[in-house]
Symmetry: C2
Subunit: 392 residues, 2 copies
């Protein structure tokens, strides 16, 4: 009962006009193009790429990253780590500060032959990791989270705690390296600010690594990244790997920052017109926040895109139409100042481009997959259905 | 240093200290109390209750509504309708404007003996429903959505379209009645405003019903409701049923409106402290927006509660502590002005009370269930696990 059927009738549902709305769609052509773009960048910067799979949470999407074979990945939950380990991935970084109670699941993955690195930013966590490693007889590889911009977690590159943590980890054969994430780059609104954020991110990680090395603590991994900085970095000398996640799908927040164009967005949600309130200038759809999430990431940007921009089923923008309000299963579309409210009869299907791909994707159990590089008529053909990993 | 409890192990995990965080918890004692409160109100108002199951989306939670036996319910998706039909529920209203393409699933449920009513607010939808009924040889019972406060969908009680829609439905033997929802009551910040919203909601529905009847169109159901108006209504003469959903769990938005107290909140999310940034006054947890949702419903209220208030594992509020920021798997707790940031070591478990129960519950596959009426030590005992219905 809790397993969603991808379509009412798989044998006849072959286009986006088929499955009951709302549902999430991935355009594999755009995802591939986004993946190739960053892979080429990483090649030019001579740095390894470790994509973050928390956005798509899909083994099928991840298969696009490296021609179908497992590559190094970053995860946001142990559920992802376990699902990707089941899928043959053996080089995984769990990039959320470790809760000591989760270490038995980490050890279980290590014993399966998965190199699973944990993240931490305190001597208390380092002691837990060291103790768990000693008890298990298996060193848990750990990275020290470096705070480069006051965004969230981490120790500052110059903090005394850095080398204390490094020493505890090194003594337990757990020290793998340092990791930082320029979380504030999501608010860097110009290309120059994004370049500065990338430089600052690199400098913080490399400075921390050098401090550890100067204290006699070997550092293998120097990991940096966010989707904006990964696309802005000019020099990653001293960095061993680059992380990014949202870039596979991109979203309106990234488009608002200029990191991508609207045409690069690979994730959307198909909805149906279920009502009109012409006295208010509203078109009502069956896609509310349950389908889009409550994320309003563009509200802080120059151009607020509401809950999303609207395209037709083929992906062509409907000029001036914005999803401006959401309740659980209702979306309200309105025309921006000056734009004409189009005539869209009851039953018309539309696609909504989301603010934040991670949040919108998380509202769905999986994706209907289309390929906009293949001509199809009258509506984009569904190639397949891809499941997501859920839970923690 | 605190020693974390042993890892999650289904055979030994019997308290909230057990399962890996984050996870959702329902306090069945509080849910029962909330259910009894509204049931008693409906009894005094001499109106039938049709709870909305879209908040909990759980057959187990619904079993609390009517001593374990199926009762009339409201749903927000056909997936809910189908799951509850499988669970023996036969009296269901699908309270989102009908997408004509979904009518085959509606007809399939009717053929199974489920009285499934659909909602609509246009002659176009009425024609689709009439045509589907004729083709199926089964009348699809339909309600006309009435707009009482300019919130979302519906026709106004005095609109000419009302009787046109009613006529189309009646001619196809589909007309069941009218339904309205005082969506704006979620912004009615005083008890008096809520009483006025309830009166207005009733008046709109009854006026519409009387207009239809005066036109010779029989109206069986006159349905009103929202959690605030259901708790504020003083006189429901002419109304046949009352709907509400959030009231089973309640949330900080409802507490902010004074509809409930903080102590009535039956849903929370258990998180773990994974870091400290004393220089910023932050405690970092492993519960981000993936666990809480992006809903910031209290931001528009007098007291903005951030992403939620914080309690200890027993449910006692930690004074002044608020979850003020969220990324995907990180939550940031800060002290309100004047409050002291408590010392909460790495590994400490806390519970977060959400802004919006519907949105937070939707981030989870199910609920760990506790009963705060039963004494338990050192942490609340887990009674059972309840699944949610997902998808559309």
């Amino acid at each position: 009962m809790n397993t969603p059927a991808p379509a009412a009738n798989p044998s006849t549902t072959r286009t986006l006009a088929g499955p009951d709305t709302p549902f999430a769609v991935v355009d594999v052509h755009k995802a591939r193009r986004n993946i190739e773009r960053l892979a080429a960048r990483a090649g030019r910067l001579a740095v390894a790429l470790r994509p973050h799979v928390k956005t798509a949470k899909s083994l099928d999407v991840a298969a696009l990253l490296h021609d179908g074979s497992p590559c190094p990945i970053t995860v946001s939950t142990l559920a992802e780590a376990e699902a990707f380990a089941d899928g043959g991935y053996t080089d995984i970084t769990y990039a959320v500060g470790i809760d000591p109670r989760k270490l038995p699941r980490v050890v279980a993955l290590l014993r399966r032959g998965v190199t699973l690195r944990v993240l931490l930013d305190s001597t208390a966590q380092a002691e837990f990791v060291a103790e768990a490693s000693r008890q298990a007889g298996v060193p848990v590889p750990a990275q020290i989270e470096i705070d480069c911009d006051g965004h969230r977690g981490g120790v500052e590159p110059g903090a005394p705690a850095l080398c204390e943590i490094g020493r505890i980890l090194h003594d337990a054969r757990c020290l793998d390296g340092v990791l930082t994430h320029a979380g504030k780059s999501y608010f860097a609104s110009t290309a120059e600010e994004q370049r500065l954020a990338a430089r600052n991110e690199r400098d913080a990680a490399v400075t921390a690594a050098e401090r550890l090395r100067a204290a006699g603590l070997p550092v293998a991994t120097v990991s940096v990244g966010s989707t904006p900085t990964a696309h802005a970095a000019e020099d990653l000398t001293g960095v061993t790997e680059l992380r990014a996640g949202t870039y596979v799908f991109f979203d309106l927040v990234m488009a608002g920052l200029g990191v991508c164009g609207i045409d690069d967005l690979a994730l959307s949600v198909v909805v149906t017109v279920i009502g009109h309130r012409s006295e208010y200038g509203w078109i009502v759809t069956d896609g509310g926040w349950m389908a889009m999430s409550r994320d309003r990431g563009t509200a802080a940007q120059t151009q607020d895109q509401g809950y999303g921009l609207v395209t037709d089923l083929d992906g062509t923008l409907v000029p001036g139409l914005v999803m401006t309000a959401a309740s659980q299963e209702h979306g309200t579309l309105t025309a921006r100042d000056g734009a004409r409210l189009p005539e869209l009869p009851i039953g018309t299907r539309l696609r909504i481009l989301p603010n934040h791909a991670c949040a919108t994707a998380a509202q769905h159990q999986g994706y209907q997959v289309i390929d906009s590089a293949r001509a199809s008529d009258p509506a984009p053909a569904i190639q397949t259905y891809w499941n997501r990993v859920t839970g923690w």
